[in-house]
Every structure is written in C-alpha cells, then in structure tokens.
C-alpha cells in the first residue's frame, strides 16, 4: 500500500492546497447561498407586487441552478492541479520531490488523491449549503434536491477528468506553458477533431444523422465538452457520466505509468523527450491546418462545389504559412531556443503527411457511410427515430425513446425502406448535391443487422411515404408503443400537470390509461399529430435508463375524463377568480400599466377538432402612454415610432371582455356550455415576459362565439408579428 499511496504525503499535499481549495470553496459556497436567497427574494417581491400568491411556488430547473458548479472543473480543477504538479516544471523542486523517500507512484497517487479531496470539498460543501437553503425555502421554491446531488456527482467526475488530463499533460511536459498547451490538447483536441470531422462527414452525406461508426463519436458523452451549452446534461446520470468516469480511470492509469517513467531532469524542458516535443508541435500545426483539411475534403466529396485553382493555391499557401508560424512559435516558447525553433520547421513534411492521412481516413469513413445500402434480407428489424432524440438527449421524448427501442420486422416495410435507401444513395452518387432531397418526406430509420445498428434518413416520394405510414400504423407493435403507458406505482414514474395538483394528475392518469385501453385511436392520432393541447398531464419516467418525458393529451373524446379535468382546473384556479374578473370587467384600469398585456382564451370544448386559442395582445402601451404624457423627454419621431408599434385596445375590445366577464359561470341549467381557460400575462419590461401570469378556468354559454375577438386585432399585427394569424385557430 505504501508503494502506491502514502497518507502523510497526501496530508502534506492537502495542506499545500489549503489556500486555493478554501478560496474556491468559499466562492462557490457564497454563490450557493446567493442563488436560493435571490430566488426567495424574487418570490417575496413578487408576492408583495401580487405576482405570486402564498400557495404558488417558483419552479427551478436543477440543471440551470446547479450549473454554477461548473466553475469547479473550469477553474478550480485546472488551478489546483497545476499548483499541485508545479514542482515538475522546475529542476530544484523536481529534484527535491524525487529525492524524498517515496516511490514515484506513491508520490503521484498521494498528490492526486489530495487534489481529488479538495475538488470534492469544493463541490460538496456548496451543494450541501444550497440543499439547506432550498430546504428552508421549500414552501416557496420547488427544485429537485436529488438532482442537485446528481449534478455534484457529474461535476466531480468532470473535475476529476479535467484534473487527471492536466496531470497527464504535466507528466509529459516540463514547463508551465507546455503544461497548459498540452492540457488543452488532451482535453479538447480529441473532442474538437471528433466533432469537426464527424460534422464534416454528416454534412456531406444527407442520409446521416450522426456518425455512428463508434459510440465515442457522439458529442454528448464527454462531460467537460458536452456540458458547455447543454447544462441539462449535468442533472442526469447516463452514458456521459460513465464514459467520463471510464476516461478518468484510463487517463489516471496511463498517467501513473508515465509518472513512474518520468525523469526528474525533464523539469524545465518543453517535453520529456524529443519525440513528444515533435508530437506536440505537430498537434499545434495540425490544428491550424484543419480548415485546409475541411476544404480539401469538401472538394473531394461534393460535386457542386466549384474549385478555383488560384484561390485553392492561395489557401494552401496561407494555411502552410500559418502552420509554420504556429509550430515555430510553440517551439520557441517551449524550448526558448531559436535554433531549435528554426529546425522545427523541418517537420513540416510530417505535418503534410498527417494531414493527408486524416483526409484519407475521412474519405474512407465517408465512403463506408455513404455506401451503406443493405438489402431486405440483410435486415433483421428496424426501429424509428426522430432527429430530436439525437440532438436533445437530455430531454428524451418518451414515445420517441419507445419507437427507438421497438423492433419492427414487417418484411414489406423492410423491403420498402431498403429499396428507398439504395435509390437515395444512387441518386446522390449521381448528383452529389446535398439539398437534392429537400422536397421529399423524410423518415429516420435505424436498420438492425443482428447486433449492428445503422441509422439513416430516408427521403420518400409521397406515394412511398403514404404506403410507409399505412404499413406502419397497421402494426400492433406500433399501436402498443402509445397505448402501453408505464405503471404509476413504479417509483420512477411521475405525473404532473400545469393546472392540476399531483393527486388530481394521478387520478386523471389512471383514468386515461383505462380510456386509452377501451378506445386507443384518438390518443394515438393525437400523439402522432404532434398537436399542442391545453389539457395535458406530464409523464416523467425512466425508460431504457434514460429520463423520458411526454405530454399526454386528455382529449375531449374521452368525455367523462375530460369533464373531470376541466372541473379540476376550475376548482384549482378559483383562487385567482377575483383578480381575473377584475382584469376583464375593468380592463381600462390595467391596460396602461404594462408594456405588454396578453389575454389568451383557450376554448376546450370543441369535440371535433383541436383546442382553439384566441390570443389578444396589447403592446408598447406603457411606453406610448409615458411618451404622450411626458412629451418633453421624447422626440416626435420616438412618439411616432411608439404609435406605429402600438397594439392599442379598442373600446369595443374592452367592452367584449366585460361581456365575457358577465358570462362567466353564468350558464343556466340545461344550457349548452363551453369550458374556457383564460390566461392573462403582462410584463413591464421586455426582458421578463412572465412578470405577471394568472390563469382561470370557467364555463360560459355555448352560444357565445369567441371568434368575435378576431376583429379586434389590427391588420399590421397579423403581418408583422404573427404571419397569417394573430388569433390562432
């Protein structure tokens, strides 16, 4: 044990990192306190201003809230690791550490465990603090505490990966500059290359969704690179967690091995040996020539790009010059020897060979991917995908995930799909134009040949597409995807709804399952049509190890269930009745208080078709009001501008609101009625549209035609803001 880890050395390194570790812990802890406190203050202020009620909660998404912890792997891990391994950059410190009575392996492991301990502290203490504060404010702020700890775990793994990558770089190099540069190369270069080259191939072949040669080509599996721009990934455990952990373990093992071999005399040198120095220099040169590789690849794969010989030569020369300068500068800065820097230019031919090799590899992958044209007999089954399931992996749609994991074996369909793919490929090969299929219907198919899976986008003629749809929807396996809903008793399944409380949502879900079992068709059609419904319940469940969600429509066709749903809405929104009625009966009192004011009437009782929305929108009212009443601060042009952009409520419109108010729940016995959800939202500034939001569900007589609201929307609103219709139907 002493040979691989020494507690005293660990304790010593932990002590050395005390200052920097404590600074990051304090900074992150302050942020961890500020976030819940600021949200609570926001709630309090909203409560005072009437924007929130006592019973309402601010709902926070853990991925957004917890993303502050990314500081741990963006700043804390690199700084702590560079400090801990800084002794490798100077001869005196390197000799000192190599002279102490410890094996190199023990030295490395003890230091790395000390770094990891600090990273754990830097991450876990703020998480616990945030947990405590959210627990204190739990009556007013809703957030998944469990997910905060998942985020902490993911961030910790990302930090460890970052740290071990930097330790890896420090082991291979001997100066701070090369530590940093090579760390960057180790952390980012493989991912950048994979992302760039796979996007080059995918964009060159219109049938590809993503490069499926190897799973490591996926963009979302490395926690460090994937979480930039997709923080939601942090709140889930998945392949990104395990891949990053595996990569950390692999990097650790390699670094430990190399650290054992590292010579103390490497301190102060650019790299531990000349071969690695050349490799790093070539990597720098290679990065600068990526655009050249992309241009050449494009010329070789796309027929409709017209190469201009002169501009091509110019690009080539410029690229080579940039590569030479980059390699020269790297060599000069890392070795501080001009002669060596000049000599480094001699490795340019190797760079050209490396570039050439990459182009050959790209072309090989391009051809393999393009020439995938299986026959029907090759295919054992296929499954369906949508593009969304690929690009928003963290928000997997339940039915898409089920579609993806269901094997369809209909021979007729397989024949149709393989023939279509072969035809598509041949057409493309004859023309090599990427957008030649734009006017056709497309389907995302994963072909299965035993354990091998290949996903392609197929472009179909209308006839083929109709045939495909008919064959598909006639399959019982297909129907089952939509009708077999998960058991609510499972702890992984959660039901919620915008308008219902959890108990009500659960009841509706249980009834919905029964309704679908007895009459599945309306439900299957509605889910397939991808239409927005107001009366929905949200399903959250774990399927195939992924967190999946789906909005399940409660359709008017399921009359009793639908009626119950509407009654629940009416019951739950009753508390806002007085306020909403005030907005309707006295609209002129409010209308000049806000920049924007929306009245959205959602009529839910249409049993024949989709839900109908009537959206009446007033804008720039406050600006105009101020400008008109305080003209000295506004130019005539400004006032004119407001006037032109103003969506002003007409007197008739406001009168109509009053009429609606008078009809609310004023339905006599036996009279036909319709259920309406009225949502009123307003903002006083344009950056926060949800400044104010009230919902209210109620009945009015069936005879009242809400479409009368159409006439209150000026023509220019249609043209400028909503295209064809401001009032959506």
């Amino acid at each position: 044990m002493k040979n691989i880890f020494n507690f005293k050395l660990y304790k010593e390194t932990f002590e050395q990192l005390k200052v920097v570790g404590s600074i990051f812990t304090v900074i992150l802890s302050i942020i961890a306190i500020l976030i819940p406190v600021s949200k609570f203050l926001e709630y309090k202020s909203g409560l005072e201003n009437g924007y929130y009620s006592e019973s309402s909660k601010i709902i926070l998404y853990s991925g957004d809230v917890g993303s502050y912890l990314m500081i741990a792997f963006i700043l804390a891990a690199p700084i702590i690791t560079l400090i801990a391994f800084n002794f490798l950059t100077r001869r005196n410190s390197s000799d000192f550490y190599h002279s102490i009575p410890h094996k190199r392996g023990s030295l490395f492991t003890s230091i790395f465990v000390a770094i990891s301990s600090w990273l754990l502290i830097v991450i876990i203490i703020p998480t616990i603090i945030m947990n405590i504060f959210f627990a204190i404010y739990s009556a007013h702020i809703a957030i998944s505490i469990f997910e905060l700890y998942i985020i902490a775990l993911n961030i910790f793994i990302a930090s460890m990966l970052c740290s071990v990558s930097i330790a890896f770089a420090c082991t291979l190099t001997g100066t701070i500059l090369t530590n940093v540069v090579v760390s960057g190369l180790i952390i980012f270069l493989p991912r950048i290359l994979i992302a760039l080259f796979s996007s080059m191939i995918v964009s060159a072949i219109p049938f590809l969704l993503e490069l499926d040669v190897l799973f490591i080509f996926r963009n979302d599996i490395n926690l460090i690179t994937a979480t930039f721009g997709n923080t939601k990934l942090l709140s889930t455990m998945g392949i990104h967690t395990f891949y990053s952990l595996l990569l950390t373990v692999i990097y650790f093992a390699i670094t430990l091995l190399l650290f054992n071999k590292r010579k103390s005399e490497a301190a102060g040198n650019g790299a531990v040996n000349k071969v690695l120095q050349t490799v790093f220099r070539l990597c720098i040169g290679f990065v600068t020539t990526i655009p050249l590789i992309a241009i050449i690849f494009d010329l070789l794969t796309v027929n409709d790009s017209s190469p201009n010989t002169y501009s091509l030569i110019l690009i080539f020369v410029i690229e080579i010059l940039i590569a030479i300068i980059a390699m020269f500068l790297y060599e000069l800065l890392s070795t501080r020897k001009v002669k060596q820097a000049i000599k480094s230019i001699l490795t340019l031919p190797i760079l050209v060979i490396v570039d050439g090799a990459f182009i050959v590899i790209l072309l090989f992958i391009f051809n393999v991917s393009l020439n995938y044209t299986p026959t029907a007999s090759d295919i054992t089954a296929f499954s369906l995908s949508t593009s969304e399931t690929y690009y928003y992996e963290d928000e997997t749609y339940y039915f898409d995930e089920k579609l993806k994991s269901t094997d369809f074996k209909n021979p007729e369909l397989i024949e149709l799909l393989t023939t279509t793919l072969t035809r598509n490929v041949n057409e493309f090969k004859n023309n090599y134009t990427y957008d030649m299929f734009w006017n056709r219907s497309s389907v995302y198919i994963t072909f299965k040949e035993g354990s091998k899976e290949t996903t392609r986008i197929l472009y179909m003629s209308d006839t083929d597409y109709n045939k495909y749809n008919t064959l598909l929807t006639n399959m019982t396996e297909y129907d089952k995807i939509f009708t077999d809903l998960p058991d609510l008793e499972k702890s992984t399944t959660v039901i919620s709804s915008r308008y219902l409380n959890n108990a009500q949502a659960k009841k509706i879900y249980a009834e919905l399952q029964k309704a679908i079992a007895s009459n599945p068709e309306p439900f299957i059609n509605s889910v397939n049509e991808d239409t927005y419904y107001e009366t929905t319940i949200t399903l959250e469940t774990i399927f195939n190890g992924k967190k999946c969600t789906a909005e399940l429509p409660v359709l008017p066709q399921y009359q009793d269930l639908y009626k119950t749903y509407c009654e629940y809405i009416a019951e739950n929104t009753e508390k806002d009745k007085a306020k909403v009625l005030d907005f309707l009966t006295n609209p002129d009192k409010y209308v000049y208080e806000y920049n924007e004011l929306y009245y959205t009437f959602t009529a839910l009782d249409n049993q024949e078709s989709n839900t109908t929305y009537y959206n009446v929108f007033f804008s720039n009212i406050l600006d105009y009001y101020i400008a008109v009443n305080d003209p000295k601060n506004y130019s005539a042009a400004q006032i004119e501008q407001y006037k032109n952009e103003l969506f002003v409520p007409s007197k008739e419109c406001l009168e109509e609101f009053k009429t609606i108010a008078s009809l609310i729940n004023n339905v006599s016995d036996g009279e036909e009625k319709q259920f309406i959800i009225l949502n009123i939202s307003a903002s006083k500034n344009y950056t926060n549209r949800q400044y104010f939001d009230y919902s209210f569900g109620f009945y009015i007589p069936k005879y009242y035609d809400l479409s009368v609201l159409d006439s209150f929307v000026p023509d220019y609103v249609d043209e400028n803001y909503y295209g064809e219709d401001d009032i959506w139907e």
């Binding site: 010593e12 000799d95 009575p101 023990s106």
Partner: protein, 300 residues
C-alpha cells in the same frame, strides 16, 4: 557503505557522469572536487535516487537506491539549488520533513534554528541566500539520516557559519557513524573536514584517496646547482612541472620523501628545499595534467 560501479549518466548526448566506480565507507566524510561541469551534482543526484543511471549501479547498504524508499529514507540531501515550499517557514518545512522522513527530529530542528539565529516562523523567502542555505542544512541535519549529501553547501556561508556547519557534520559522523559526501570547488573548505577526497573531471573520477595520502604523496622540491644542468639530470625521480629559473629549479615529485631527498643529495646541489604541497596545489597539478589549465589564457 556506498558502492558505485561504472556509473554513467548522459543528457542529450552529453555524458555528465562517466563510468564512475567507487566505494565510500560508512562513517566517512567524503569530499568531492572538480571543475564546473565535472559531474559532481549529477553524481549526488544519482546516489540520492533523483536520477536513474543510464548504465552501472549504485548500492547503498547493498541495496539499489532508485525507487527504493527504505534506502532513500536514510538519505538527506542539500542540493545546489535549494527548494522550499511556497511561502514556507522553517516550521512549515519541518512539518513537511516530519511527514516525509521517519527519523526527523523537530526538537533538533528548533534547536539548530536557534543556534543559527534564524527565525523559525518567518517565511524562508525573506531570508538571504546564506540564510536559506543554513535553513536547508538545518532541515537536512534534523533528518538524522545515515547518509548526508551536501552539494556546494559551503558556498554563500560566512566563515563562522561554515565552521559551525562543519562541526555539526563531524558531530553527526562521529556520534551516529553517519556518512557525509560534500562537493565543493574549494579544496580549502574540504581539507580540514574530509577523510577522503575525490577529483572529478569531465564526468570521470580522476583521483580518489585518503586526505593524508594526498598530502604526503607529492611534495615540491627547490634545487640549485653551481654548474649548468637540465631536467635530464633527474631521470630516476618521478617528477612533473619542472621549472628552471636561473640556477634554481622547482618540480613536483611523487614518491617517498626520504628516498627522493637521498637521491637528490647524491647530485650535490648547492640548494635543496623540500616543501609540502597544499591540497589545492595537488589538485591543480592533477587537473593541469588532464589539460585543465588556463595559465596560457592569463599569459595572453
């Protein structure tokens, strides 16, 4: 005991240590001198286990030193270029050493710090060059190791401190039978403390001997004759550096002193003086014999 056998270390084609074989006995103070770039520091780094030899072997108490914590725990090393933790005091460094060296004696460290009149709690970064070196020596001596290696340690120390350090090293050697290796450019610093001296040149071990032998094995002869003569007169004497100025000649003679005097007396000189050589002269002449001579530069 330290035994090296054909020890070789090269850096980018430059051989810093070349085929050094030597035995350093326990309880001995071993001095190592040599010109700049002779390989003294590299030799110490090799026997400390900092460097791995490219060829040859190092055995300390019959065990290899590289990647051998049990042997390295018996070694304390004061390098030429010192290292202290960022912003650390002697107290902080003492804590570090205590975690690393099993026999580290904090009380001794405190005691020596006071003896050297250094601050125990003040940052070492604020110390002068000599004080930093003193701090490093204090820490090394507090490790109470069996082997202590000092690289150019007396550089930057004032004479009083030098004597104090020498005394402390001698004390450790005598009381604990410790072994010390000290490298220096200055023979004067070594001759009153070392039992053995070695001369390194261009990575190789040129000379290694007891200090007493070194001092007596060679001597300077001043001789004059009434008649004309030249160096051929002394064919049966092992001499070097023959210089004749008028009728008086000087030469460095190797061999038995009495026997040489007897031989020279037989030649009936009008003047014969036999003078002892300082160690510095011994090494200078050895170095000159190896071509390390810059007199011509000064003459030019």
């Amino acid at each position: 005991m330290i035994t090296t056998n054909e020890l070789t270390k090269t850096f980018d084609g430059f051989t810093a240590v070349n085929n050094i074989s030597c035995n350093i006995q326990k309880g001995c103070v071993y001095g190592m001198v040599g010109s700049n770039g002779a390989g003294k520091s590299t030799f110490l780094r090799l026997i400390t286990g900092v460097y791995k030899p490219d060829k040859g072997s190092i055995l300390i108490d019959d065990e290899p030193v590289f990647e051998n914590p049990s042997i390295k725990s018996k070694i304390s090393y004061v390098p030429d270029e010192l290292f202290f933790l960022q912003g650390s005091s002697i107290k902080r460094m003492s804590d570090f050493y205590k975690n690393v060296y099993p026999r580290f004696d904090s009380e001794r460290c405190k005691y020596l710090t006071e003896a050297f009149k250094l601050s125990y709690d003040k940052s070492i970064a604020t110390f002068s060059k000599g004080m930093k070196r003193q701090a490093a020596i204090i820490l090394a001596l507090s490790c109470k190791t069996d082997y202590m290696f000092f690289d150019e340690t007396f550089d930057g120390l004032d004479p009083v401190m030098r004597n104090l350090v020498k005394g402390l090293i001698c004390q450790d050697v005598m009381e604990r039978n410790a072994t010390a290796i000290i490298t220096s450019h200055s023979l004067r610093e070594l001759e009153d403390i070392c039992d053995q001296l070695a001369l390194l040149h261009k990575g190789g071990l040129v000379l290694e001997n007891d200090i007493q032998n070194l001092k007596t094995a060679q001597f300077k002869v001043q001789i004059a004759f009434s008649n004309e003569y030249d160096e051929t007169l002394f064919t049966d004497i092992d001499f070097s550096r023959f210089r004749k100025n008028g009728s008086v000649s000087t030469m460095i003679v190797k061999g038995d002193r009495d026997e040489t005097v007897s031989k020279l007396n037989k030649l009936k000189p009008v003047l014969l003086d036999v003078l002892p050589l300082t160690l510095e002269e011994v090494f200078t002449y050895e170095m000159e014999a190896l071509g390390y001579n810059f007199e011509n530069v000064l003459e030019a």
